[in-house]
């Protein structure tokens, strides 16, 4: 990709740019479609049910039908809503979700932008989404949506900090913010980062669940408390955009975890390296996605104040300890 950037702007390379972006978009949308199917199937099996099995073979077209239904629905904007903000909110939430995928290295060859500060870019961009959530909650002019949005803002701020702190250990060990360098370092060490950075890995997993608003941290949508939180007034394709954002973030977060802690495209043992890297990447990635859905079938929801306490009083100090220990060990060894 980088080589194309240095060429002069012409028909051929601009076509490549557009096409590759479209391909990535198709992959991500395909992932979203089937991760929803996958989620419903997993939840179904774990809950003594069957899950979707009506539309298409094995219910494979269920999500397609659902999306189609959402797109055909009447576009409703509540009378008392702040109209421009109401319309722009799903877009604010959605754009950074796709933006972060640009720096994600799927294999050593297959990546879109080899940015020196890739990790920082990811974290900075993903922080913007919460603005969309708050805007949506505020513009809906609904009390439930407002409470949901406020919870969301508090939760994102509280958990973004330990999330960033937990990866500082990885950055220290690698000496780079570039995601490809991070994977290369793991190859060089012959060991994936979740072993030397175990504490960081655990904090990262917990904080990422909170960032994604997944169970047991799904307070922003809390069905049984807030009905559905910030997007309670949204319907049709605007609602679909919020849902899309959520699942694209699962894609992005699972990819990031794979890259940072599970060695990206590297095989577990050197001698399995005849299997292409993209397969290894996909396997690790699917395992994390499965883990997220598994928790959804298992855990109840935490309470708001307990969530805050855990973020500030447990995860943040632990991640600071992790940084200190990593730095000391790096200097000593």
């Amino acid at each position: 990709m980088g080589a194309y950037l240095e060429q002069s702007f012409g028909l051929q390379n601009s076509l490549v740019f557009i096409l590759s972006a479209v391909v990535l978009l198709a992959i991500v949308l395909g992932f979203v479609t089937y991760s929803i199917y996958f989620q419903r199937k997993i939840l179904g099996w774990m809950q003594l049910r069957i899950g979707p099995n009506r539309v298409g073979p094995f219910g494979l077209l269920q999500t397609v039908a659902d999306v189609l239904k959402l797109l055909l629905k009447e576009d409703i904007i509540p009378k008392a809503a702040d109209k421009p903000l109401f319309i722009i909110a799903p877009v604010i939430a959605f754009v950074p979700a796709f933006g972060v995928l640009a720096v994600m290295p799927f294999t050593d060859k297959l990546h879109f932008a080899d940015v020196g500060v890739g990790l920082l870019y990811y974290i900075a961009l993903s922080g913007i989404t919460v603005l969309g959530v708050i805007t949506g909650g505020w513009a809906s002019n609904n009390k439930w949506a407002l409470i949901g949005a406020m919870r969301s803002a508090a939760q994102m701020i509280s958990y973004e900090i330990p999330l960033v702190m937990s990866v500082v250990g990885v950055i220290l060990m690698t000496g780079s913010l570039n995601l490809i360098d991070i994977v290369e370092k793991q190859k060089e060490m012959g060991m994936w980062f979740f072993i030397p950075q175990f504490l960081g890995f655990i904090i990262f997993i917990i904080a990422q669940l909170a960032e994604l608003s997944r169970t047991p941290f799904d307070l922003t949508e809390a069905e049984s408390e807030l009905i559905s939180g910030y997007h309670v007034e949204y319907s049709g394709f605007r609602w679909a955009f919020f849902m899309l954002t959520e699942y694209v973030y699962i894609f992005a977060m699972a990819s990031l975890t794979t890259v940072l802690f599970l060695g990206g495209w590297l095989p577990p043992i050197e001698y399995l390296s005849f299997i292409p890297g993209i397969i290894w990447f996909a396997l690790k990635f699917v395992a994390i996605v499965f883990f997220i859905f598994w928790l959804q079938a298992t855990f109840p929801r935490m309470r708001v104040d307990q969530l805050m306490q855990m973020g500030w009083k447990v995860l943040l100090p632990l991640s600071l300890v992790n940084i200190l220990v990593t730095a000391v060990l790096k200097t000593v060894l």
Binding site: P216, E223, A297, P300, R301, R303
Partner: protein, 371 residues
């Protein structure tokens, strides 16, 4: 902070219900919140009021039984019994053994089914999705037994003044015998899956604490009362039917919080299974299921009040009779209605998530609250 930089805050009036997933029916709660802290809560009830007591004045005693099904529709068997028991007391009827055993078996199975439904929906309130489906699968087994017995899954209309309508079909007793150990195993599984969960413990401990004094002053009964350390169970303290023949314990806790109520309901399920097991052992091989009652039931002039231990607390029935085949006045003491009164006191100062946990732990059925 100087006055110019001070944030202006306002209380927010929030309407919880009548269409809200955690109110378990058409119940409305007007809450005033400061941030997420509740400063005041006003319950609004009556959306499901059908005037059962008034309607019953124009019905003869057998016709009232289906109406009691529809009050606490989660535990219709105990409601059936509550009504027929009062009429029987008023008439001074002797009930055949076999009918008494059938009644006790179905009532205790009903208690298990009711607590299972509570367990599933309560965990759903707390945000866990799966226990609901597990609990419903087990409850369904009990409903299948009832279905076999009387042809209905929810509103049974099974009991009659003087006995029960249908005898147990062939093989029914054996099937229930097999079910008891299965259900014990399932309860242990629930403990493994949910009870030890850190999130559950943190969410329920110390939330919605009721003192014993409050419990008595608010006339709370059932699990609410027993969670404050008071071992009051009518099956033990004022035995009706044949409950004096069985050995069982009355589970109590002293904390008075949501977790205490959670634990008591589980232990009650175990005790109910013990009673069912003993009743099945002692079940008479043959015998009548109906006492000799006249074709037209006429209660002698006078009045009677009886109360029994329903899954949700003390349910009572008062009948004032003027010697006709219809009651002059009938009044039900509905435990959900009495238990709900304490809610505004409990939720004050708590946050919204706790409100859902507290309301769920009271275990109301709106059909019963509204009458």
């Amino acid at each position: 902070m100087s006055s110019s930089t001070k944030l202006r805050t306002e209380e927010m009036l929030l309407n919880v219900g009548p269409q809200h997933p955690s109110t378990h029916g058409v119940f409305r709660l007007i809450v005033k919140i400061d941030g997420e802290t509740i400063t005041e809560a006003i319950p609004v009830i009556g959306y499901l009021h059908r005037g059962t007591e008034k309607l019953a004045e124009d019905l003869n005693y057998t016709q009232i039984i289906p109406y009691t099904d529809r009050m606490d529709y989660i535990a219709a068997m105990t409601n059936n019994y509550m009504m027929v028991h009062t009429v029987e007391t008023l008439m001074g009827l002797e009930i055949p053994e076999r009918a008494e055993y059938l009644r006790v078996i179905v009532m205790e199975l009903q208690r298990v089914a009711s607590h299972l439904l509570w367990f599933g929906t309560y965990l759903l309130d707390l945000g866990a999705l799966s226990p609901l489906l597990y609990a419903f699968a087990d409850r369904e087994k009990i409903l299948a037994f009832f279905n076999e017995l009387c042809g209905a899954r929810l509103t049974y209309n099974y009991m009659r003044v003087g006995g029960v309508k249908w005898d147990a079909p062939e093989g029914w007793i054996e099937k229930v015998k097999e079910f008891v150990p299965y259900m014990r195993k399932q309860i242990n599984d629930y403990h493994k899956l949910v009870t030890g969960n850190e999130v559950v413990i943190n969410r329920l401990t110390g939330i919605g604490v009721i003192t014993q004094e409050d419990a008595i002053n608010y006339s709370l009964s059932g699990v609410q009362l027993r969670s404050t350390g008071m071992a009051w169970d009518l099956r033990k303290d004022a035995p009706y039917s044949i409950y004096d023949r069985f050995k069982f314990e009355v589970p109590t806790e002293t904390a008075g919080d949501c977790f205490a109520r959670y634990k008591i309901r589980f232990r009650e399920m175990q005790e109910s299974l013990n009673i069912v097991e003993q009743a099945l052992e002692q079940f008479p091989k043959e015998g009548e299921i109906m006492a000799k009652v006249p074709r037209v039931l006429r209660t002698p002039q006078g009045e009677a009040f009886t109360r029994i231990e329903a899954p949700r607390g003390e349910i009572g029935c008062y009948i004032s009779s003027n010697g006709k085949d219809k009651p002059y006045r009938i009044k039900f003491r509905r435990p959900s209605f009495a238990n709900l009164q304490v809610l505004p006191k409990l939720v004050k100062g708590q946050n919204i998530a706790d409100m859902v946990a507290i309301l769920g732990s009271i275990d109301i059925v709106l059909g019963e609250v509204d009458g």
